[in-house]
Symmetry: C2
Subunit: 338 residues, 2 copies
Amino acid sequence: MESTRTRTRRATINDVASAAGLSRGTVSRVVNGERYVSEDAKLAVEEAILRVGYVRNSVARNLVRQKSGAIGLIIHEPHSLLFEDPNIGSILLGANAVLSAADYQLVSLIIDSERDSRRVADYLQGGLVDGAVIVSARASDPIALAVKNLGVPAAFVGHPPGIPDIPYVAIDNAAAAEAITARLLGTGRTRVGMIACALDRDSGQDRLAGFKAAMGDLFDPGLVVEYPLYTYGFGLEGMQELLRRRPDLDGVFAASDAVAAGAMTALQESGRQIPADVGIVGFDDSSWALRCRPQLSTVRQPADLLGKRAAELVLAQIRGLPSPAEVLETSVMWRGSA
Amino acid sequence: MESTRTRTRRATINDVASAAGLSRGTVSRVVNGERYVSEDAKLAVEEAILRVGYVRNSVARNLVRQKSGAIGLIIHEPHSLLFEDPNIGSILLGANAVLSAADYQLVSLIIDSERDSRRVADYLQGGLVDGAVIVSARASDPIALAVKNLGVPAAFVGHPPGIPDIPYVAIDNAAAAEAITARLLGTGRTRVGMIACALDRDSGQDRLAGFKAAMGDLFDPGLVVEYPLYTYGFGLEGMQELLRRRPDLDGVFAASDAVAAGAMTALQESGRQIPADVGIVGFDDSSWALRCRPQLSTVRQPADLLGKRAAELVLAQIRGLPSPAEVLETSVMWRGSA
DNA sequence: AGGTCTTCTGTGAACGTTCCCAGAGTAAGG
DNA sequence: CCTTACTCTGGGAACGTTCACAGAAGACCT
């Protein structure tokens, strides 16, 4: 009986009020730690709360306050990246750090199907979150539209083409790719290929563009292989293909560290020495880079900072402050692989 | 003016009703796709919705329906694991698949500080979710308490000690560890060590226990090194320590694949051949296993299934069905590393 | 014509809070 | 003793839905 009752109906603020012999208003003031409540009343309410087992219903609270205190983080990635790409974890934790400090709850929503996409859009529009950080959206997303139409405060990590007006925080992929390719060329290589990935996204396109720019006259379209995702597996495959096309290759730019790790495995299995025979560089400076032997020369991108700044952009919008797009600095980390 | 108004006040169901010249109730029926609404009314409402730009307020809806249609997934892991452990991604996607099919929204909440812990507990108790899947909770968590006290439908992935009464889905870590250690011994090794991790958790404890059981008389406490987390870095470090203690070691059981990968790096850097000089086995059968050279012999644990079943347990509780704890099967994947 | 069933519509009553205002009581200041 | 100010409390109104019920209108049968 007792347990059925508790399971069936939770104690409300009114139950507390009558248990304490006080009014709803006073209980609310105690629960929210407001001023203008006597010591006696406070004690009585606290005792009553314990007695009836009250816990505040946030749904009702959110309804009347017209806000939820939550920020959504939308992850729209294919399966494999959720495992392989350490950047996502860093972005998540970066955003969480900022939001947690501002006493917002970060709720992550992952999109893994068309159905998810619609449901998440509903979630965003329904008032369940006060804003959203969007990681790697596609331009075609219903998410981006939903955000735009309803004016939900939002910020993108990365800069999806075709979605203006929404603040974003990104890095200059092209410039960074150009810089590290130039550095690789500086070691005296002349036959340099690239394993390009995710060309459906700005990051993929820009890294390829930067590579081309750095190569200049040395650029050979036949030495670029293209794959859909930044994964270890495609790195392995891509390197094998490059070696088939050009066995005397002496340098490779892999579009990410995971890709580079796969490529290094392929190089080593083919009997080549790194960096003596072939120099290789990556992109991200994720945990992969230090795990490679030799350690990987790569572009350091501040993934956690991307998450932090994006969260800050969302908070700024909520507070009515300006939220300008931002491009973060990258740097080349030169290690043993080239 | 226009934009200020839309930003300031969203259209409500009443706005739609008066725009369509119909009542609140009829609009609600249209929005929810219920029967008993004439074709004319339906058209008028749909037109009005478009005209005023109405989108349903889920907060109000959830309040009156006394449910949210959302399930929380609570991740309580130290930083590094969020990046290194592919199991978490698999669990997440497994749970999402089940919940998405049942039209529930999965919301992931990560706990990264004491403050997060309290906030997440509030989130769970406040009626914002209808249930929760809890990944790797500690017994001391306020989360577990919150779940127990309020009777929020919940299921654990893994089986934290000291929390009875809440359904869980787990694997038999001890039996699996014993099996793979026995298999390793079957290759004729006699000086076998273990890199044990996460002994504050049942998985860590049980894997160590299974190792001891399989070793029997061969067990040497001096050949077990202990580390707090299942990471590549600790695998590297642990292997170096083991080699220092016992240079003629001929076998290692690493508590996870990531740990094994680190250990393999250490072994290879010390000039040892795998599996000729030293045989090594891991645990998880994550993407790490296939990346190692030689590929890693390991215990396959169905991480996505853990997520799926846990989600199903939560749904069962919501529906008032029985939700018995479950132990999933593991199997030994024998590859080239031993 | 009267009855019953079905379809359709409108409206009051929740859901559980917070916010705001009014009023009572007390203290301080002239 | 009258203001004025401050502290404390209670309760009405609102937040935006869904739900249950009542009643109207039409179809169909006897």
